[in-house]
């Protein structure tokens, strides 16, 4: 496809047929694409590490960069991209969505917990395509899926599979699983059990780290941690690695160096599976990181990357289809024609059976990219990326009418 400035109108006068063809090819002229990013904040407790304190513009900053990238491309296709952002409390989420839909915005990226994402997708129905940029819940990709709900954020199953593949590749198959007591932690623990079964690892022992409340930070709290964690982890079955399932951020960062047995820690601390880390440099990521930092004055978090991805999915679909119609964009995104470069070494695409974006998962020690899954040797008949997360036969999602090219 060639996009030119200029003189189609003169040519059009010559032949009506050509005129129609040129006109339809040029629907990109002054095309306006309006998207929104809706972040729903729950008042959670403080993170264990102050390095993890969420910035005010978490996610929003990524949406901003994605929109700017789209806009740069839009200059050449006569397309304008705008982004409305809203940050609201859970009780105001529906109202905020209604207001955005009322403005005629049909492309909404959402950062919220799984239940809220599901509720907003239901509420939007056919009026909008919702891009889930944060919730990892597997049921949203299975029984609780919705036809207007696409997931750019990886699922818990994808994250757990990515880590366990690496552990198996390392020949560290004996896992000591320690999980938290909140529902998200239990769900993550279940993802690790599933991953261990899938790839031939073995969970040799499980322990629960109960959240008994209390302050996250106390002066010289490490003194107590240094005594508590060894005791908590002693006399475990022989294991190669400790895997922490602590989505609630209650205990995992305390594990490394404090476990009874000298074993590496992975999962919610230590070697962590993520969609993004600001340490990542491969595949041209350095320029991307720098672009983000220049615009926002801070490093990129996974949530920012996911919001950026949501905007780039929209931008790429608009560029290739020349349309701003949400339904048409959704269909294109789910088709074989869609592909997107996302600084992870291979194109990212969508699973047509549940709307989940296929993507490599980075394994980081929060200082470097240690490895990237899928690992060598984990094969799949369609794409090695489908070894991560819910494959077609595993997903209970029936809302997607499969789209054939």
């Amino acid at each position: 496809m060639s996009v030119t400035k200029g003189s189609h109108r003169i040519l059009c006068c010559g032949a009506l047929l050509f005129c129609l063809a040129a006109f339809s090819a040029n629907t990109a002229l002054a095309l306006e694409v309006r998207a929104a990013l809706l972040r729903v904040d729950t008042t959670g407790s403080l993170p264990i590490s102050r390095l993890d304190l969420p910035p005010e513009d978490l996610g929003i900053a990524g949406g901003r960069l994605g929109t700017e990238d789209n806009q740069t491309t839009g200059r050449f296709t006569d397309t304008t991209y705008t982004l409305e952002t809203r940050v609201v409390a859970p009780e105001a989420a529906v109202e905020a969505l209604d207001e955005l839909l009322g403005q005629g915005i049909g492309l909404v990226a959402v950062m919220a917990d799984g239940a809220t994402v599901a509720e907003l997708a239901r509420r939007a129905g056919e009026r909008a395509v919702i891009l889930n940029a944060s919730a990892p819940d597997d049921d949203l990709r299975s029984e609780a899926c919705a036809a207007n709900l696409l997931h750019v954020a990886p699922s818990r199953a994808m994250l757990a599979d990515a880590l366990v593949q690496f552990l198996v590749w390392k020949k560290w198959p004996r896992i000591f699983l320690i999980h938290g007591s909140h529902p998200a932690d239990l769900a993550l623990a279940e993802s690790y059990r599933r991953a261990a079964r899938k790839f031939g690892a073995k969970i040799v022992e499980e322990r629960v780290f109960e959240d008994t409340g209390g302050a996250r930070r106390t002066d010289s709290g490490h003194v107590l941690v240094q005594r508590q964690i060894p005791v908590f982890t002693q006399r475990a079955e022989d294991h190669d690695v400790v895997v922490a399932a602590d989505e609630s951020d209650v205990f995992a960062p305390y594990l490394p160096y404090h476990t009874w047995d000298p074993r590496p820690v992975a999962g919610s601390a230590g070697l962590t599976p993520v969609s993004w880390t600001w340490a990542h440099e491969a595949w041209g990521a350095t320029q991307f990181q720098r672009r983000f930092e220049k615009l926002n004055g801070r490093p990129m978090r996974p949530q920012d990357y996911q919001a950026w991805l949501a905007m780039r999915v929209i931008g790429e679909a608009v560029t290739r289809t020349g349309s701003n119609d949400p339904a048409r964009l959704r269909d294109y995104v789910l088709s074989d024609g869609f592909e997107l470069a996302a600084f992870k070494g291979q194109k990212v695409t969508f699973r047509p059976w549940n709307g989940q974006m296929r993507q490599p998962i980075l394994l980081t020690n929060l200082h470097l990219t240690v490895s990237v899954s899928p690992q060598d040797g984990f094969l799949h008949q369609t794409s090695p990326l489908d070894t991560l997360g819910l494959d077609r036969p595993e997903s209970g999602c029936t809302a997607f009418k499969e789209i054939r090219p």
Partner: protein, 323 residues
């Protein structure tokens, strides 16, 4: 003392009449340039080239060697005979690839961080123009008649056609994901653009009028995952009969028939094959193999890899001195 001299003399007598050229290879991680001799394929030198040297080219008169020192945010200019650094050229941050005007001046540099193509006069060392392009400009090519410059932008996924006089963008052609490299045929009638993540090479008709894609080359190698068939560097024979495409982590160079634009063969080279350069007589094609720290030498006529030569750490770019 006498014997080595005799041996040199003897080898000169035996050697084929082909002229030896210096081959310069940038080592991205080693921070050096390795110099090879194109007759013996021996390493004859290595010199420091700044931090993270990548793109490399040489002036048509063979007097100045230009190296993108990506982490120094400059282009370093070396004397190809003494390996002394002569001076630097302003490039904007993180220069990666550039193209020199066929006359030897100016130099067109893709400036990834600022979404610009920077035009630099290599004599006065001044920036002549900055052209705003798409997100993450990368590949650079110039039509051999000097009429326009082409830049590819990796996140916008376009080839931008820039008028060499006015620096206005006249056309934008949408290609597949992450376009990396652009190369014209010698007569300027066709432009090949590789899309690393899309896994294709777009063939763009640039003979006359509006440039448009006439063909897309896809790749398929038994036993290699399609995800790893990532086209990067491109080289075309002077007569446009054959096009060579480096396929990155697939460790292969595709040979393409320049008439039909169909793949005729795949040559197994080193790991993560990246950029390539012909010797001036087109007898050999040298490929840089980033993950095996070597270059592969391809006999162009026979379409055979004849040998590999260890160079520095993570070889990236390559240029051969003119006759």
């Amino acid at each position: 003392m006498i014997r080595p001299g005799l041996l040199v003399l003897a080898s000169l007598l035996i050697a084929p009449p082909a002229l030896a050229n210096k081959v310069f290879v940038t080592n991205e991680r080693g921070n050096t340039v390795t110099v090879l001799d194109s007759a013996s394929w021996e390493v004859i030198g290595e010199f420091p080239a700044g931090n993270r040297p990548r793109g490399i080219t040489i002036s048509p008169d063979g007097k100045e060697l230009y190296v993108c020192a990506s982490d120094d945010d400059v282009v370093r200019v070396f004397d190809p005979h003494t390996y002394e650094e002569l001076h630097t050229l302003p490039s904007g941050p993180d220069p990666e690839l550039f193209v020199l005007h066929p006359s030897g001046n100016p130099l067109y540099i893709a400036n990834e961080d600022d979404n610009l193509v920077t035009v630099v006069d290599v004599k006065t060392r001044q920036v002549l123009a900055e052209v705003p392009v798409g997100v993450e400009p990368e590949g650079m090519a110039i039509r051999p008649d000097g009429q326009y410059i082409v830049n590819t932008s990796e996140t916008t996924n376009m080839a931008h056609f820039i008028d060499a006089e006015s620096y206005d963008i006249t056309h934008n052609v949408l290609v597949d994901q992450r376009p990396r490299y652009a190369e014209f045929t010698a007569d300027g009638s066709k432009l090949y653009v590789s899309a690393e993540i899309g896994g294709t090479v777009s063939v763009i008709d640039t003979a006359a009028g509006e440039p448009s894609i006439v063909h897309k080359i896809a790749f398929q190698v038994p036993g290699v995952l399609p995800e790893w068939l990532q086209p990067v560097g491109i080289r075309i024979t002077e007569d446009a009969s054959r096009v060579f495409v480096a396929l990155g982590p697939a460790n292969r160079v595709a040979v393409i028939d320049g008439k039909t634009d169909e793949v005729s063969d795949y040559l197994l080279v080193g790991q993560r094959v990246w950029q390539m350069a012909f010797t001036p007589d087109e007898a050999f094609l040298i490929t840089t193999n980033g993950n095996s720290n070597d270059v592969s030498i391809i006999d162009v006529k026979a379409e055979k890899v004849i040998r590999s030569v260890q160079v520095g750490e993570q070889p990236w770019g390559v240029v051969v001195a003119p006759e």
